[in-house]
């Protein structure tokens, strides 16, 4: 169990303690305020160099990380890298060694292969590695920003603040995750964050899109989708990861919508104050109806805007923090 990410790489949420997660959420609270200022910049990482290394295409995560690094006054090296190191003829180790030779403090990386971030952290142990998504394994900052978004909204409702509430609002909170869980790194990070913070997590998906090892996860599996929707305080939707081959795991997109899409009719099963979340990118009309996305219960835009303070918090703790003990 990692008790704090100060001075450490962030590779997975699987091994973070509740305290470590709450520390990131609390740190992010202070950066929310920075992002509301007219001059949105603090000197916390002045003179530090953060390399942004996306081996796999990304729009929002990359922009969000680079914005976060710049608002902390870090210098950002943004490198365009081929999607496959093999195709490029260079090994992952050599790519990292080359970038490390430029003098960097941290690497934010995304890779289509599970474990790539851990491998890189082994190749350059003196550099902090922030996992921006590796294959089907983990997407830790997404899990953190999803937890942050839930805490932010619930604390507003309870007339308290995120800082004061700590992890208490997650106790017994019912969170339903729906869709392509098998291929989803977001699901793995979300489940780790929610379960560690004390929430009750339930999964709902076609049998083929549940992970083979689901019985070892800290979750229950829903039988009936409508019942699960009525049960949930929060529902998180995931898109079909067709680039990871999930197309062959269901008969058709329309059948997926039929069985597991959050249609307008189905949304009526939800509690009136239930939150609807989606990590994006969304396939409107497939896993979620456009009208549901645009309803007041959907907090998708909040998730996106919370990405910046969460990533500022992660970079700040990891790069500027020193490891205790």
């Amino acid at each position: 169990m990692i008790e704090s990410i100060r001075g450490r790489s962030l590779l997975s949420l699987d091994d973070l303690s509740k305290e470590a997660i709450v520390e990131v959420l609390d740190t992010a609270e202070s950066f929310v305020e920075v992002n509301r200022r007219s001059i949105k910049k603090v000197p916390a990482l002045k003179g530090r160099v953060v390399a942004s290394l996306f081996f796999e295409e990304s729009t929002r995560t990359r922009l969000s990380f680079e914005t976060a690094a710049k608002r902390l006054s870090a210098d950002v090296l943004s490198l365009a890298v081929a999607s496959s190191s093999v195709k490029k003829g260079e090994s992952l180790r050599d790519t990292i060694a080359t970038i490390d030779a430029l003098g960097i403090d941290a690497v934010v990386m995304r890779h289509r292969s599970s474990g790539a971030a851990l491998q890189v952290s082994r190749y350059v142990p003196h550099v902090r590695v922030i996992n921006g998504g590796d294959g089907q394994h983990q997407h830790p900052t997404q899990g953190l920003l999803d937890a942050f978004t839930i805490r932010q909204i619930l604390s507003e409702r309870h007339d308290t603040t995120g800082l004061e509430s700590g992890a208490s609002l997650f106790e017994g909170l019912r969170i339903l995750i729906v869709g392509d869980i098998r291929h989803s790194r977001v699901a793995r990070s979300d489940v780790a964050a929610y379960a560690t913070l004390g929430a009750e997590v339930r999964l709902c998906a076609p049998g083929t899109l549940l992970p083979e090892d689901v019985k070892t996860w800290p979750v229950t599996v829903a039988g009936d989708f409508d019942d699960a929707l009525a049960w949930a305080d929060v529902v998180g939707l995931l898109r079909l990861q067709s680039e990871r081959g999930s197309g062959a795991f269901v008969a058709s997109l329309s059948e997926f919508t039929f069985s597991h899409g959050l249609t307008v009719e189905r949304a009526r099963c939800l509690k009136s104050d239930a939150l609807i979340m989606h990590p994006g990118p969304m396939n409107r009309g497939v896993e979620i109806d456009s009208r549901v996305v645009d309803s007041s219960r959907a907090v998708v835009e909040r998730q996106v805007s919370n990405g910046v303070p969460i990533r500022m918090a992660v970079l700040y703790l990891s790069v500027a923090g020193s490891r205790e003990g």
Binding site: V86, L92, S114, G115, A116, Q119, D134, Q138, R188
Partner: protein, 436 residues
């Protein structure tokens, strides 16, 4: 010619063990006796506290030549093998191009003849190992090839496998199968289970192996042709083949040191050095394999020595090639798995006598001029002898291997038992644990 006298080792015959001297003259065992007056010019090997038995035979070496000489050559593979106690290696056909015709088989046999070891060849079952059309097995058999396999992958198409068995049977050769249904394995990179799910790696289920084992047992029953099962990795696979053997079907099987030494937990590091097909399995499978070894029911330990150039193991897990080194450490790992109080006859059974029988390595085959292996340690036999010191303690350093590659999963591991001498066709190739 030269003479070698092996002094006071525990000589491990097929049925009995006895402390004795072994005199080797002109490539043959001249005498085995309590004490022998050796010729004055004889090289002396001190074998006190050591086991002296028939030289090891590896049924499963990827020597990479032709095509991937950066990873290994027949010559470097032979050196690694000699250091590991091996007198004979069966070179696997998944080279580039595949060993699927007489020209390529002749090339490997000819290169092999330049090494001190006996290098036998396993030919491909199908052309290009593509699993579609039969390779010219009769022509290759005429060159002395006794084993055929598409190893690296199994023959996926049941009707092709049936045809291959039917074709091979009258040739007196044995097919060997890499059992994994690739469709069920689904491009996976490690054993399927809770760990693969947590790591986000696509799993290769145990059933992918077991289904093909089941299918092939039935095809053997149907065709009557002998079949050797390569690197069985699950307890259930072993159980099924043992059942078939008890029924009298002509089946044999091997287990690989990594499958009875390491479990899937090693993959949590995402270090591609632990990626192999079939994959490292669950701890209970490892225990089942060790149990089978101890019960003495395993036909052979085979290394699946699979060198890969270092840069290929510096890739991400799912892009890196599968396979790990084995030749230099198989004997110590087998000794470890059998346990310190084990019967040395079991040790030589799985490393020498069993595999020699399956490979059909014999002196009477003038076409390949290989010597006889896996013999009984009596006078008159070809002198292929390995001296193993069960009391030796050492540790693995991947930078000091004889192989051209470094992809050993045992780097830093403490080992018990080490090959002290390897004598091939009467020649001392390894002495004091070093190549001569």
């Amino acid at each position: 010619m030269s003479a070698i006298i092996i002094r006071q080792g525990l000589v491990v015959g097929e049925h009995a063990t006895v402390v004795a001297d072994v005199l080797i003259v002109d490539g043959r065992i001249a005498e085995v006796a309590a004490t022998i007056d050796a010729p004055s010019d004889a090289r002396e090997v001190d074998a006190r506290d050591c086991w002296v038995g028939p030289g090891f035979v590896d049924l499963h070496s990827h020597l990479r030549e032709p095509g991937r000489e950066a990873a290994e050559s027949i010559e470097s593979g032979a050196r690694a093998g000699a250091l590991g106690g091996y007198c004979a290696l069966v070179a696997m056909p998944n080279t580039e191009p595949a060993l699927d015709n007489v020209a390529l088989v002749s090339f490997v046999l000819e290169r092999g003849a330049r090494t001190p070891l006996d290098i036998a060849v396993a030919g491909a079952i199908t052309q290009g190992r593509r699993g579609e059309l039969l390779a010219p097995m009769a022509e290759m058999a005429a060159l002395g090839v006794r084993i055929f396999t598409d190893d690296g992958v199994g023959v996926q198409d049941s009707s092709v496998m049936r045809r291959a068995l039917t074709y091979a049977r009258p040739l007196g050769v044995r097919l060997a199968q890499h059992c994994e249904d690739e469709q069920l394995a689904a491009g996976g990179t490690m054993n399927e289970g809770a760990l693969s799910g947590r790591l986000g790696l696509v799993g290769r289920p145990a059933l992918a192996e077991e289904l093909m084992v089941m299918r092939d047992i039935e095809l053997v029953r149907m065709t009557g042709a002998p079949l050797h099962f390569l690197h069985l990795s699950t307890g259930r696979s072993v159980q099924m083949v043992l059942g078939a053997r008890d029924e009298g079907l002509p089946v044999t099987f091997e287990v690989a040191p990594h499958h009875f030494t390491l479990d899937e937990g090693a993959c949590a590091s995402y270090d591609p050095v632990f990626k192999v097909h079939p994959p490292l399995r669950s701890p209970s499978d490892v225990a089942a394999l060790r149990e089978a070894l101890r019960r003495g029911v395993v036909d052979a330990v085979a290394t699946d020595h699979a060198p890969h150039a270092p840069e290929l193991k510096d890739l991400v897990f799912d892009e890196a090639p599968a396979g790990m080194l084995g030749l230099e450490h198989a004997a110590a790992l087998t000794f470890e798995a059998l346990g310190p109080s084990s019967d040395p006859r079991t040790f030589f059974q799985v490393l020498s006598r069993g595999p020699a029988r399956i490979a059909q390595l014999r002196a009477d085959d003038i076409r390949v001029r290989h010597s006889a292996h896996g013999a009984a340690m009596v006078s008159g036999e070809d002198a292929n002898v390995t001296v193993f010191d069960p009391g030796s303690r050492w540790s693995v350093d991947r930078h000091t291997l004889e192989s051209r590659s470094m992809n050993t999963p045992y780097d830093g591991r403490a080992m018990s038992g080490r090959v002290r001498a390897t004598i091939v066709k009467g020649r001392l190739v390894v002495d004091q644990g070093l190549l001569t």
